[in-house]
Symmetry: C7
Subunit: 95 residues, 7 copies
Amino acid sequence: MKIRPLGDRILVLRVKEEEKTSGGIIIPDTAKEKPQEGQVVAVGRGKTGDKGERIPMTVKAGDRILFGKYAGNEIKIDGVEHLIMHEDDILGIVE
Amino acid sequence: MKIRPLGDRILVLRVKEEEKTSGGIIIPDTAKEKPQEGQVVAVGRGKTGDKGERIPMTVKAGDRILFGKYAGNEIKIDGVEHLIMHEDDILGIVE
Amino acid sequence: MKIRPLGDRILVLRVKEEEKTSGGIIIPDTAKEKPQEGQVVAVGRGKTGDKGERIPMTVKAGDRILFGKYAGNEIKIDGVEHLIMHEDDILGIVE
Amino acid sequence: MKIRPLGDRILVLRVKEEEKTSGGIIIPDTAKEKPQEGQVVAVGRGKTGDKGERIPMTVKAGDRILFGKYAGNEIKIDGVEHLIMHEDDILGIVE
Amino acid sequence: MKIRPLGDRILVLRVKEEEKTSGGIIIPDTAKEKPQEGQVVAVGRGKTGDKGERIPMTVKAGDRILFGKYAGNEIKIDGVEHLIMHEDDILGIVE
Amino acid sequence: MKIRPLGDRILVLRVKEEEKTSGGIIIPDTAKEKPQEGQVVAVGRGKTGDKGERIPMTVKAGDRILFGKYAGNEIKIDGVEHLIMHEDDILGIVE
Amino acid sequence: MKIRPLGDRILVLRVKEEEKTSGGIIIPDTAKEKPQEGQVVAVGRGKTGDKGERIPMTVKAGDRILFGKYAGNEIKIDGVEHLIMHEDDILGIVE
């Protein structure tokens, strides 16, 4: 089953803690919201502006991203947990 | 009886849990809002912009969609439960 | 006595439950806001945009509409209960 | 003493219940906000848009209007109770 | 000491109750916010729009105005109590 | 150490109560927010508009200003207490 | 591992208290939010405007900045604590 996110939403496959690369992101022990790591599976066509024009997306499928802990809606696709979130919920891209 | 949704609203026929395709969306057991599956029955003509122009709709009748659990207003048409919601309440389209 | 709604407001004659057509809208027994049925009696000239231009109305007098339970202000005209609401409070048009 | 309302405000003389025409507006006995009847005494020059241009007013002095119960600021002018409210607080014009 | 209000702010000298003209504004005994009377001492150059242009002020020094009871910041200048408020806090001009 | 405020922010040196000129601003004894006096040390280049253009600043270094009691962030520079605040937090300029 | 902040976000390396230059910023003992000092490691390409155009960033990698105590999301990169925040969370640049 394939999901096409609507508008400026993206479909993200969350990266599990144990799968992280060594020397990668280690979450500090504070009360702050902790960023999560994931991989972009699919992106929407972009938000629609006030005049009906498309605002292009910045991220693309395959990008490895960081996002806030409480971003998006959880959804399981063919048994695998994914997230659907707005592009603005992405903090940064891991290069 | 036929309903034409107003503005950027859509009329949705909710898909019952037992009707889901195998290997389809299984809702994880968390406190997050769980997406629901449905079929678009009718769409409005689109939102009206600041200058009176129409912003075209992205979804069309027949599309299978995911939406948030608390999206829209419930309504029974000829005895069948439907939902009327804004297009922006749609998370993604099932392809 | 005749009322001309201001801006994007409409004057609506609520349809009583017992007047509904058979096979019509039956409100499900849930906690969700239940749509109500009514007939448009009069419409305003439309909202005024940022440059003073009129945004035309989508509904017209005579349209049969659905609206949220808590939409609008109640008003009796010549002894008959009506509602004045914003056009955006309309969920859909019954065709 | 004469008051010129500022921007899109209007000065309204409230119509007392006993002064209403027979067959006129009778407020139903519900918990909803009840519209009030009044006469426009003076109107402002209209709101100022983002570019300094005037958005003309829809109502004019002499119009008989309906407005929400909690709209506006009360003010007595030469001993008579008036209201100053924004034009958008007007529900409709009695014709 | 002279104060030049910034942006769309105005400097107002509040009119004391006992200084009001006979037949002037008498505040009704209700729970509503009661308008206050004052004289404009100085006005700012006007708000700055989205493109850096000035939105001209509607009131000028010397105007007698009505304003809401809780509008503005109190300030004493050379021992006399004044108020600094936004122009939009003015309800009307006394002519 | 020199600080360049970002965007439409300004750096302000607060004027201590005892340093005020005689006949200057005396704060009345009320529950209202009391304006504070200060001197502008540095100003940002101005806010960036929707199209990337600069909105020029109204105040300049050296201006003596009034601002709300709770405006801005406190910061000590070379041992002296300063404030960084948005230009819109300024109530007026002392001339 | 390298992080490219998205939109108008920046990646910041927080400056520890003991690393501050003498005569530098000393936080006063008040209840106000205290600014923090840091160094910009990477900046996003800038916010996307309503028409899809880029709003350029004001700060650049290497800039020493002040920001509010509660700004941004904490993140450790290769074992070192960083922050990702919006450019608007920056109070000023240390020159």
